[in-house]
């Protein structure tokens, strides 16, 4: 009886088995979702942040280093019975703040309750020590150790720049795919320029964990783990003692001091006044401090040595003289009458040769020099003649590193302006122009613009008698030297012999001219040139460039002090003190130092 029923039962068994096989095949082989879920279940990705490279000064003194700081990450799904009152107490934040953080966290695009998400960032070592013992009260919180920047000195802030979490825009622009949200990135200064060298490489550890989140060793014995590679250490060309001294002198003043070693282009000091303490822009209070600093009306974040464009003033006369000699329109013996009806002048002189004209900063002389240069009679048309002359002049002046950025290893360098014929075409809206329209170029006023770094580089060129290396702040990257572009010797279009005349004149300025009272040093021959840049209606800017010693110079300096009157006062004093400090290690003229610190330059 019931014969068919055996088969029915067998069919039921077989169908069940087949259903299982198909279902298993679909979830095991066809559907990758489960494998991914399994990974996120059991594998905890732990990022090992690399140490950012350290920065030393030229004498091996540590300037920038790393200190630990701690981020608190949260895995939302592991949080149970969150006691917000206790949390606020332990972490010392308000309830509103806590609510805001939760809201922000959830709003993030990549937020997942199964993954660690940044919850509280940048706890300093002492802050972390305070909460550490209470962390076990809050399951689901994980500590991510990383490092932040610390500075041994409050100096050099503008050149060093600062580091902060990568912004959304930066992240969107990043095509390298290196950065993740929450990464630190150099935002300005050396930190930004050498970001690639400093950042190192992030490491990843894959760890297995069980259902309670307890680590159970490494995944596949660490086959996929990578070690973090620390960034390269940088050796700066900065002499941090000189830098600090310069900032000490510039306290309370606006302006800049740039000191360069002429033989290498290495920047010895780069002072921007006013500045800020770089330690303010690290750690947890970064945001609030940054708002304070960036809203400061004195603009401490504005790096004057590279970004403040001034008219060059009288110092430009040296470049004019070199250009005119090279073009053969004057000779060192050429005398031009100081005709003060054309252009104003100062001091008691009437008919100087070139050296005397530079030393006395004779305006009519250089008016004449520029006229000879721009109107050489190549063309009968005075307009056309000026165009040709200006183009030649521009080429020479630019070879001094003016009129374009020098390529210093800092971001946001301004190039200044050296006018071309095309520039005046635009400025005059294509109406004709000739020498009489543009003669104020002769004395470094008019449309010329330079930045203090270019002026220091110019001093360096004269010191080198006609060549320079691009100024730079980093002389060693890891075990290698500076970037290749800083090893390239650049020559001016001027014959080196003519620079001796400039050197003579600059020596004369300091020995017996405008620089004799505050720039002359006993032990060295200092060569310098004052500049007083018109700044109507405010007081003039005080400018001085110098190098020393005269032969085989070790240091070239440019000093700008804004609204401080004649170059012979504030700027000359500071420049000579910097030279003294660098060459001797201290000043023998405390009264000059005191004069600078008093800051009363206008009588």
């Amino acid at each position: 009886m019931n014969e068919g029923r055996k088969e029915i039962l067998q069919i039921i068994f077989i169908i069940t088995g087949l259903v299982f096989l198909v279902k298993l095949f679909s979830i095991q082989v066809l559907d990758n979702r489960y494998a991914e879920l399994a990974d996120s279940n059991a594998i905890l990705k732990e990022v090992e942040y690399p140490f950012r490279g350290l920065i030393y000064d030229r004498n091996g003194k540590l300037i920038v280093y790393n200190t630990p700081e701690f981020d608190i990450n949260i895995i939302r799904k592991e949080v149970k019975e969150f006691d917000s009152a206790r949390f606020c107490e332990v972490f010392q934040i308000s309830r509103e703040e806590l609510r805001k953080r939760f809201k922000e966290m959830r709003a993030r695009k990549e937020y997942s309750p199964y993954k660690p998400t940044l919850f509280i960032d940048r706890l300093s070592n002492p802050e972390f020590a305070r909460i550490q013992d209470h962390l076990d009260e809050f399951p689901g919180l994980y500590v991510q150790a990383r490092t932040t920047r610390s500075y041994t000195t409050s100096a050099l802030a503008n050149a060093l720049g600062y580091v902060s979490e990568i912004s959304k825009d930066q992240l969107a622009r990043d095509e390298s795919g290196i950065y993740r949200q929450g990464d630190y990135v150099g935002q300005s200064g050396i930190e930004a320029y050498y970001e690639e060298q400093l950042r190192g490489k992030r490491g990843v550890k894959f760890k297995l964990r069980n259902v309670r989140g307890i680590e159970k060793g490494s995944f596949k014995d660490g086959a996929y783990d990578t070690l973090s590679i620390p960034g390269k250490d940088l050796v700066s060309s900065i002499d941090i003692d000189l830098q600090q001294y310069g900032e000490f002198l510039m306290k309370g003043k606006a302006g800049s001091v740039v000191a360069i070693e002429p033989s290498s282009g290495e920047i010895l000091a780069l002072i921007s006044g006013p500045s800020y303490d770089p330690n303010l822009l690290t750690g947890r209070n970064y945001s609030s401090n940054f708002v304070l600093i960036s809203n400061d009306t004195n603009k401490p974040l504005f790096t004057r040595p590279l970004m403040a464009q001034y008219r060059p003033g009288s110092i430009f006369k040296i470049a004019q003289a070199m250009t005119a000699l090279q073009e053969g329109v004057i000779r060192p013996e050429t005398r031009i009458y100081c005709d003060r009806s054309i252009i104003g002048c100062h001091g008691a002189h009437s008919n100087e040769d070139l050296r005397g004209a530079i030393a006395n900063s004779c305006n009519p002389y250089f008016h004449g020099v520029l006229r000879r240069m721009l109107n050489k009679g190549v063309s009968n048309d005075p307009y056309e003649d000026t165009r040709i002359g200006l183009a030649e002049w521009n080429k020479h002046i630019r070879s001094f590193g003016f009129g374009g950025s020098l390529g210093v290893d800092l971001p946001n360098e301004k190039g200044g302006l050296i006018p071309t014929p095309e520039y005046y075409d635009r400025a005059y809206n294509n109406r004709p122009w000739k020498f009489s329209n543009i003669y104020s170029l002769a004395i470094g006023e008019g449309e010329n613009l330079v930045v203090p770094l270019q002026m220091a580089n110019f001093a360096s060129i004269v010191a080198n008698r006609g060549y320079y290396y691009r100024p730079h702040l980093i002389k060693n990257i890891g075990s290698e030297g500076p970037l290749p572009k800083y090893q390239e010797k650049l020559s001016t279009t001027i014959d080196p012999q003519y620079f001796e005349i400039a050197v003579d004149a600059m020596q004369q300025v300091v020995e017996s001219g405008t620089g004799q009272y505050r720039a002359k040093l006993q032990d060295f021959i200092v060569c310098g040139k004052t500049g007083t840049v018109q700044n109507d209606p405010l007081p003039d800017h005080s400018v001085f460039i110098a190098f020393a010693p005269r032969d085989n110079p070790k240091i070239a300096v440019s000093v700008y002090v804004e609204d401080a009157g004649q170059g012979a006062r504030a700027a000359a004093s500071i420049a000579s003190l910097i030279i003294e400090k660098y060459l001797i290690g201290e000043t023998k003229r405390p009264y000059i130092e005191q004069y600078v610190l008093n800051g009363q330059f206008l009588y």
Partner: protein, 405 residues
């Protein structure tokens, strides 16, 4: 024949050893015990083979009586494990009488069916049979061990084989189907509509006898009543954890961390195995306790994760072959007792196999029953061993049995 069956068993035992030792890798205590259980089961096998075959038939009722008493005792003096009070403590090892109740009931039912003058279409006989499986079911339900209690419903397959009208089975399957459909389809009006349409179609298409129409209509009304009662059953009759298991089956993603956890994690573990699996001892999900009860009820996750589809398929196919083999053995028995017993064995194994694997891959609600020969647990292993080897013993001596049917 015994050798062939033994061969099957050995294959299972071999697979079993490996599986157990891997899942016991961080539970060395369990793996050690399981070895003892296996050795003990060999002793049991020897005992079963030595004992005269007539003993099983002769003492079926006696044993049935004893086990009922034990089941009665369990709720009173038993110890509680995992929410179920199903264990009788003997020293440090616990024994689950409900596991042994399976084969003893199988024997008793087989004996009843094999008795002279027994007819499956006799209502009185049917009632007796259902009483025989119902009694231990109720007692086991008292232990809150729903899974094991449900195993006894698998005897319906035996009854079916032995001549019971398929009507009951079909109604049961339909009820379960409609029950699940009700959960899946939120608006019950659709269901009612569907039933009325089906009813109308049947009435129009079939013979238009009054009796038939009346039966169909009553059936439809009953089904509609079932639908209406689903909510009541779910919310009022079932315990919360059982409600959740059914909800998890319908929509495991609704609360993957709460009631859906078991099924979700189990599917993740199996699903992450891929085609060839992660390799022996390399399963991350099962090794790190993401899957609960992974050495007992969710043992299949370990196979799925570490051996992939390939290994899972072998296990499934082996089980299929095993079941078909038992059917073959049962069919060649000469006594009705032995054949009924054979079907009881295959039904019990099938039920365990289907429900257990089904729940780990999310095809059935989570019901706590072990996978035969794989799951950790002494009583279950011994129960299955006894179940199987009594059949083998009976089969070995089938020549001595007179045709009684």
């Amino acid at each position: 024949m015994a050798l062939v069956a033994l061969g099957w068993f050995n294959i299972y035992a071999a697979v079993y050893d490996e599986t157990v030792s891997q899942s016991m890798w961080d539970l060395s205590l369990n793996s050690g015990r399981q070895m003892i259980f296996i050795l003990a089961s060999v002793v049991i096998i020897m005992g079963i083979i030595i004992i005269d075959m007539r003993f099983y038939e002769a003492f079926a009722y006696v044993a049935y009586g004893i086990i009922l008493v034990m089941l009665l005792l369990v709720p009173l003096i038993g110890k509680e494990v995992g929410g179920n009070k199903a264990w009788l403590g003997i020293g440090s090892f616990g024994v689950q009488p409900s596991e042994f109740a399976k084969f003893i009931t199988a024997l008793a039912v087989a004996k009843m069916m094999g008795s002279v003058g027994f007819r499956m279409d006799n209502l009185k006989n049917q009632i007796v049979l259902f009483g025989m499986i119902g009694l231990p079911m109720v007692l086991i339900l008292f232990q809150k061990d729903t899974g094991t209690a449900l195993v006894f419903t698998s005897f319906v397959l035996v009854f079916f084989r032995e001549g019971m009208s398929p009507f009951l089975m079909i109604v049961g399957i339909c009820a379960a189907f409609i029950f699940i459909l009700t959960l899946l389809i939120p608006n019950q009006l659709y269901l009612h509509g569907g039933i009325i349409i089906a009813l109308t179609a049947l009435i129009i298409l079939g013979k238009k006898k009054f009796k038939r129409i009346a039966i169909l209509s009553i059936g439809a009304l009953i089904i509609m009543g079932v639908i209406e009662s689903v909510d009541y059953v779910i919310t009022d009759v079932l315990k919360p954890h059982q409600q959740n298991r059914i909800k998890a089956l319908v929509n495991p993603d609704a609360d993957p961390l709460g009631y859906g956890w078991n099924v979700t994690q189990s599917k993740i573990a199996i699903g992450s195995g891929g085609f060839f699996g992660k390799g022996f001892l390399r399963g991350t999900q099962t090794k790190f306790d993401f899957v609960p009860e992974q050495s007992t009820d969710f043992i299949f996750c370990t196979i799925g994760e570490e051996w992939g589809w390939f290994g899972s398929a072998i296990v499934v196919i082996l089980f299929m072959a095993f079941l078909l083999r038992i059917v073959f053995i049962a069919e060649r028995q000469k006594s009705r007792f032995a054949r009924a017993y054979g079907y009881a064995v295959v039904s019990i194994f099938f039920f365990h196999f289907a429900i257990n694997i089904g729940m780990t891959i999310g095809l059935f609600p989570v019901i706590g029953i072990p996978l035969p020969f794989f799951s950790y647990g002494g009583s279950a292993l011994w129960g299955f061993t006894t179940l199987l080897f009594i059949l083998i013993k009976l089969d070995a001596h089938r020549g001595q049995v007179l045709q009684r049917l």
